[in-house]
Symmetry: C2
Subunit: 259 residues, 2 copies
């Protein structure tokens, strides 16, 4: 059966791209060329670390995640929710893209549980619990372009620092009820590589069967494993396709297509 | 002719109240008791000054307004758009109030001109040019409670630092097309005072005729003059009434009623 729903592209970009003026400009110009409805999800970790340092707050990372105590939470609320998010929104508006910057607390669209204290106490870090995309979908239908900051809330009055990849995946899954969703994960490589030392060795298309084979053969390993697991999880939950690519190719015409 | 439109209360609160945890808690509890649709407009100047100082940025004020150079703009984007705004949104969500934090760039609801350089160069400070409250009104009808940060944009890619009293007045005027609007300005006194040294000398009700008389008699002077001029301007533009009161009385049952 053909999917006749309206197309929506959810693009997740890392911190570095949105934090430097020239790369942000290029990114937003590329983003503008995406046809149809779209959503932008951003990071901002480098700026958060820089501001935290200036404020005399030490940045503690465990397994690549920021330990978020009360003071660090204030920093990420400022940097992700204010500086990075609103800068992007203002720049998109100048390109006649009707952007709306959001955290999960806004319109209560994404609620998380504060991560339980295990071997590590990550502090005010959220694991997504529930997504209500109804109002978001309404606004997207009205040509609003949501710009999602990597912050959710616990519905008990606390903001929670939340991984941007997760936000993008969860938003894409919830919006798949209303749209035919393509999820684009941007990172520093041109796609999933057959040979990590050869940037030209991009695997153009991958399905679960191929994924299992590549993992068994040791072709796919390290940080690419959770990325692809998330991608297949999104597809299982109704997202049409996931593209893993470089930020200069978010039109989806290159990179690795996960189906 | 009776005004049969839906009621909307726009409450503007200063920085100090929203920047201290105990007074913010009390304010939001009072705000929650307001019946019908509502909007909260906040400041955040004290926090901006504190963060700027920690970041080694000097705060320069001229005629009570912050001179906003590029570095200071980043601070107010962080503090007003991120820290203060999103903290309020998360706390309202915990009270089952479906808040949505916005700057003027979000949904392009409020566009400003960068203030021309005169005797003073205020930098990235905005004078409101246009308000499009259609989407805002739509969301309010769906029981969303907008929380407005004192930031607008120039539609050319720049955020602009904008006086919160002005944001409240302009939003109230634009929303008066869709709702029967009461605008509540909170400040440190119980209302407009007959005798500035007597907190009990609140003028309960004032119209233009009385205002002219009080100004001529020297009863109303100083900072209260622009406040009341703004109030009458809002009423001339369709706002039903303006209440000037203390933050603990935002239910509108005390203070000075401007009609």
């Amino acid at each position: 059966m053909a999917d006749t729903r309206t197309k929506l592209t959810v693009v997740k970009v890392g911190g570095k791209i949105v934090e430097e003026e020239s790369s942000l400009k290029q990114l937003l110009e590329n983003f503008a060329t995406i046809e149809g409805h779209k959503v932008l999800v951003h990071g901002g970790g480098r700026s958060a670390t820089a501001i935290a340092t200036k404020l005399g707050i030490e940045s503690v990372m465990v397994n690549g995640r920021r330990v978020t105590d009360a003071e660090t939470l204030k920093v990420v609320a400022m940097v992700y929710g204010g500086l990075v998010n609103k800068t992007i929104v203002a720049k998109l508006q100048a390109m006649d893209i009707n952007a709306l910057g959001l955290t999960g607390a806004d319109m209560n669209y994404m609620v998380s549980n504060k991560r339980p204290v295990g071997e590590v106490d990550y502090g005010f870090v959220g694991d997504v619990k529930a997504v209500d995309a109804r109002l978001l979908a309404d606004l997207i239908q009205k040509d609003i372009v949501p710009v999602l900051a990597p912050l959710t809330h616990d519905k008990k009055g606390n903001l929670l620092n939340t991984n941007a990849d997760t936000i993008a995946g969860e938003a894409a899954k919830a919006l798949a009820r209303y749209f035919e969703v393509t999820l684009v994960y941007c990172f520093e490589k041109r796609g999933v590589l057959r040979d990590e030392h050869d940037d030209e060795s991009v695997i153009p298309k991958i399905n679960k069967q191929l994924f299992t084979k590549y993992v068994a053969d040791g072709v796919i390993q390290g940080g690419m494993l959770p990325k692809l697991e998330n991608a297949f999880e999104a597809i299982d939950a109704g997202v049409k396709q996931v593209i893993i690519t470089k930020a200069d190719a978010i039109d989806g015409k290159s990179g690795t297509l996960v189906v």
